[in-house]
């Protein structure tokens, strides 16, 4: 099933994708259907009791690592983001007026389903609730070589669209063979496959859970393949992963 979290009729609703519409599954509007363009899409993530851990990967596709002129890392290059950087599908992302190079990053996002600590690769899939699409925007003008990529590049307000759907893990038989694609104003600019990850999803769960506890609702954004280009105010960026969803975002000047 594809789960969404939306604002409609003055409240937050939980919904499922159903025949090209949103079927509300809880509360007074349960059973009601609404059109995709009638709602405000929120990140498809249920609230969690403590700050959500959002881990992101850098240089996790061999081609992207090459594109950025680094050799492939020997261990995952991970950084953390705050949940406040997340926004939903069909939202607006701010592009500062004075920057030269801001790019999208289409990423498979893993949502943890069970508390994970010292999980072995072979068992890792049991700890996944589902998958969604993230667009982990970066502004390279602000890159500094201190805890790089630094938060000014990677933890900006409005710069991590995520959604539209949380797709149950059971409905994604092989997350390591999904096509990824980004379009800017309808032109394909990025295409790849999750098969080309350097550290695949089970390896990442084994790695992180070897030194820290992952809790239900925590996120791992698994990195992006090559094909990143500068985007400008007015551009409509669609990051799409086969079987997971197409996440639309529009850039606005800030």
């Amino acid at each position: 099933m594809k789960h969404a979290r939306i604002a409609w009729s003055g409240a937050i609703q939980q919904a499922l994708e159903s025949d090209g519409q949103l079927l509300i599954t809880q509360g007074p509007h349960r059973g009601h259907r609404v059109a995709f363009d009638e709602v405000v899409w929120l990140p498809p993530l249920a609230p969690v009791p403590q700050a959500r851990t959002v881990i992101a990967l850098g240089l996790n596709y061999a081609d992207h690592a090459k594109e950025l002129a680094f050799k492939a890392p020997e261990e995952p290059l991970a950084f953390m983001k705050g949940e406040a950087s997340l926004i939903g599908h069909m939202a607006f992302t701010k592009r500062p007026a004075d920057v030269k190079y801001m790019h999208y990053e289409c990423e498979l996002a893993v949502v943890i389903g069970r508390t994970a600590r010292r999980v072995k690769k072979a068992d890792a899939y049991d700890f996944i609730a589902g998958y969604t699409v993230a667009n982990d925007y970066a502004i390279r003008d602000y890159l500094e070589n201190w805890y790089r990529p630094n938060l000014r590049v990677k933890n900006r307000d409005t710069c991590t669209p995520i959604g539209p759907w949380l797709v149950d893990a059971a409905d994604v038989p092989n997350p390591m063979a999904l096509k990824l694609q980004t379009t800017v104003n309808g032109q394909v600019t990025q295409s790849g496959s999750t098969a080309d990850m350097i550290f695949d999803v089970p390896t990442l769960i084994e790695y992180f859970s070897s030194f820290m506890t992952l809790n239900p609702g925590d996120l791992i954004l698994t990195g992006t393949p090559d094909g990143i280009v500068n985007v400008n105010p007015g551009d409509v960026v669609v990051t799409e992963i086969e079987g997971i969803g197409a996440l639309t975002n529009t850039l606005v000047s800030s």
Binding site: A51, T53, E83, N145, L151, N155, D157, F211, M212, N215
Partner: protein, 210 residues
Amino acid sequence: MNHWQPQGTVYGTLLNFRREWDLWGSRMTQDPHKAAPQAPVLYVKSANTFNPGKVLVLQDGVKEVDIGASWGLVMGEQGHVEGVVLLNDWSVPHSSYFRPPVKFRCRDGYLGCGVPPVPLSALDLASLSITVQVNGQRVQTVHLSDVVRPMDRLLADVAEFMTLQAGDVLMLGTDVLETGQRPRARAGDTVCLMAPGFTPWVQTVQAEAA
């Protein structure tokens, strides 16, 4: 009861004490850094680090930890600082600041945090200090007057690119000793942070049970 935990995301600030900045000196402009940092160098302390308990357990092969006595600004609505909390921002010692410090800073229990915040209005920021004791011996005194970016400047520079939410915590940084290292603790050590205006914060470091 000392069991306070952050409600939101906790951010730490690197290189915010003048002694460490000055010790780096010209090395800041060498590879791989190439230049001194312009924006605040921040990191996230994920929720698995929150540790309001009396014990820090060293796990997964870690033998010693840096003690990171710090103040955290507890945010209220609309960027207003609601209170200040005394924290121990534990980390695995690491000399390279090039890559993000997830495996050094985000291990389970690595943010000692049990003492409830004190209202900002109750504190005289200019004179704030923390005395760090290990097994009853003073090993460090941290003075808030030694920061590179004082509170208001740090908040403004962070707000330039991200909005701190109500419940988020922004730490003002951790100081180093004359050696450039932070004081360290090993299994068996009891670490006490004492700061005027705050309840002392005591945790004992333990080895993982075999």
